[in-house]
Symmetry: C2
Subunit: 478 residues, 2 copies
């Protein structure tokens, strides 16, 4: 089950000029006016209607301008192309769910959920991820077998520090919850400490081992011996051979579930070989994802870059590229075989495995790339601008425009009555329109159109009848 989330929580405050909000009161009956004023007063909770407010987007949210959208859509089409290549179908679920649908699924993170105000209806919350709504969808529709992708925004009440900067490589690290739990068991971690020790291990991408060990021993009350044994394991990274080695490991073998996890890792790597991607995947015993609902394999997609970028985290304990710095996880997921059962009346389990791609970080990197490069990002797909050299040809321009539109050509005209030819050409250069169809008295008399190539400034007369094909031919790449 793939999903792509564009998580609100990308940006902080915007430049915020002070603005007076004006309220117009068209003539209505006194009663209505009073009622309206009272409602308004209640709404703004103030005594003066003309109050000051800050012109901004909500904290943690942002607008996307046309350039940013063009980049975002490029990212999406790449991702969607991949999903479709693998035969996925897509679904959509509402942006908010019943509050209780989300309750008890996220552990500590629950405090980051946006709740809707109780306006006399149901208690609602904005979705925190796409996984829980998906599990709700499966249980509600009794679906036990689907390969779906879902692209949507999720809402979290935090402001993650965004890392930008050119990344050096992408790789994935893999682990298995059962290996972690088995490892804890054989290292002598008391059962009731598994989860909390797990969440400490999870910090290894942000803290050096020494600090993690300290937290385990002093804060979590783990024995030094247990901590050191864990330390040996979580420093391990490799592939198939590591899984095989650990399957021979005297201590590890004592845990049935660790063995089950290791055998699955082995099987996974045999598939990865067939898929020719072993060089991109690392079996990493220090990987421990936060969310409660994972039951088997877990993985993360990580971007690394040379040099520390502002806001980026410390070098992860032994990432493949030595001095490389993690730009953080851009994707993550795993197996969650218990979640759907939480929604099923009879608790019937539906095994699920999925990945979620956090689009913002990828987007912000590509956005910066585009800024850096000279490449001009087009925000429209207009193939031809219908222009005129002389005055009083608005109607002729609109007539030609209609011909082109009806033929499926992406065409535009300037909305002025008598625009200067120069300003029409400038508009083309600014917005990357490759062709201009120029109309003049002479052209109209001759039944032709002067077709100008903006880049080369080459001009050719094309008969009106042949224009559409000529435009198609010249923009077939676009």
């Amino acid at each position: 089950m793939f999903c792509v989330r564009t998580c609100s929580g990308l940006m902080g405050l915007r430049a915020a000029p002070r603005v007076r909000s004006l309220h117009s009161f068209p003539g209505i009956t006194i009663d209505e006016e009073v009622a309206k004023l009272l409602a308004l007063k209640a709404q703004i909770g103030g005594d003066n209607v003309k109050h000051q407010f800050v012109l901004k987007t909500a904290k943690g949210t942002r607008d996307y301008n046309p350039k940013q959208m063009a980049i975002r859509e490029r990212v999406f089409s790449t991702i969607i192309g991949c999903f479709k290549r693998h035969g996925a179908e897509t679904i959509d679920t509402p942006v908010f769910e019943l509050k209780e649908t989300l309750t008890g699924k996220y552990g500590e993170d629950s405090k980051l959920i946006y709740d809707l105000k109780d306006q006399g209806g149901e208690l609602l919350s904005l979705r925190y991820d796409l996984t829980v709504p998906f599990a709700r969808y499966l249980a509600m529709n009794k679906i036990t077998n689907i390969k779906r992708y879902h692209i949507a925004k999720v809402y979290r009440r935090d402001n993650p520090a965004m890392t930008r900067g050119r990344y050096r490589e992408f790789y994935q690290c893999v682990n298995d919850r059962r290996i972690l739990d088995g490892m804890f068991a054989v290292c002598g971690v008391p059962d009731d400490k598994f989860r909390t020790i797990c969440s400490t291990v999870d910090k290894l991408d942000k803290m050096p081992w020494e600090d993690v060990r300290k937290e385990m021993v002093t804060e979590k009350g783990l024995s030094e011996e247990a901590a050191d044994q864990i330390g040996e394991y979580v420093s391990l990274q490799g592939g198939m051979e590591l899984a095989e080695r650990l399957l021979q490991d005297q201590k590890m073998c004592r845990s049935k579930q660790a063995c089950a996890g290791l055998s699955d890792i082995k099987l996974l790597f045999s598939y990865l070989q067939l898929f020719q991607v072993t060089d991109k995947v690392v079996f990493d015993l220090s990987l421990a994802r936060g969310l409660d609902y994972y039951t088997g394999i877990i993985y993360e997609g990580v971007l690394t870059q040379a040099g520390v970028a502002p806001g980026s985290t410390e070098a992860q304990n032994g990432t493949p590229a030595e001095e490389s710095v993690s730009v953080g996880s851009v994707a993550g997921g795993g197996r969650y075989d218990g979640l759907v059962g939480m929604f099923d009346p009879k608790g019937r389990k539906v095994p699920c495995v999925g990945v979620s791609i956090g689009i913002e970080r990828i987007f912000s990197i590509l956005e910066q790339k585009a800024e850096a490069s000279a490449e001009k990002v087009r925000t429209t797909e207009v193939q031809v601008m219908v222009a005129s050299a002389q005055k009083n040809l608005l109607e002729e321009r609109l007539r030609l425009l209609t011909e082109l539109w009806n033929a499926g050509i992406k065409a535009e005209v300037m909305y002025k009555k008598n625009p200067k030819l120069l300003s029409q050409l400038q508009h083309c250069e600014e917005s990357g329109i490759p062709l201009v169809a120029i109309l003049g008295e002479q052209e109209l008399k001759d039944g032709v159109v002067k077709l100008r190539v903006v880049a080369s400034r080459e001009e050719v007369d094309v008969s009106r009848a042949a224009l559409v094909d000529e435009i198609r031919r010249r923009t077939s790449q676009a």
Copy 2:
């Protein structure tokens, strides 16, 4: 400024089996456990953690399954194609705005806005339309010139009755706020009654004139003479010639703004002639859109059908097709030259004109059409299924699958170790996969793949090297 809104508020309650929500409590320290329990208790506001709840989507919202998504995406691509043909660029804004950004923009409708709970941050509301956030965006970014489209969901706390059924025709009716106000003035409506009388006129698509007149006189206290004069005007429908006739109308001429509006209608129809769409547009003096912010031309796209469908409204007073029934407005908009100024510190005005398409109604009609027709809606784009006739060929299937994926072919494989050939073929027929690439011992020995056309059951041996091109050739239509 085009926008497409998929408005939540489409469906009522779903079938709702009772479900017990299970909460797992992995071993954590007592303090943490207590804290977690308290938080949880607070969240569900109950004393028993294992409480009952209804498995459903929030009232007024719905899921989209893969078939519905396929139809929805077809609708979107048609609409987006039209926007792009006309040179529009796209933007995106957050799903919620500061509450005060929406305050005082919707008049009566404000009560339908979803507010977010005050969780110690800013006061937020879910967007009610895409127009006000767009105006906020323009003011914030000091944009005075943009041709944008925006496709997104908006949120309204109501449950519109959905009309389904095959529609007979689509047409647009057009009017101008200035004509309405001018008409009211010359008919002797007191200034302070313009808006309220306007909202009564707005009901003409749901009530016969007699009832509308009654409301004007008895409820709104309008004189019978004034009401009857309005009655004559609002019954008028036509095109260019009607605008010309009214410009000669002794009474109408007394209103400057009515004349301004009528001249613009005339100009509009001169353009509509050039665009060859006069047959689809009706100048209708009874059209009066609800929202406050329109300042000039207003219009609605209307679907009509023969026979009354459940929940559909009464025949509109004199729609072109006589006994036809309005399926209601599927699009609407107009000019709003004042809205951006409400956000600008100096109140600078930015003239805007736009249309909003309500996708749900269009979607539900097309969905019903698809159900009625034999046409099979594909939910994936898979070109070929990699299958095997014998056992123990999983690895060979995955190897071929990888070859195809790397070549950009949309391919799929069944996840079973040894699936039956029949079940593999059945999956293709069910999901509309046109080709099957069958591997067997013999094919592997001969370095070929048996390519089967699902529809015709024709089978040909294709050399492994030529397979990709052969698949491309045979699915070039798809």
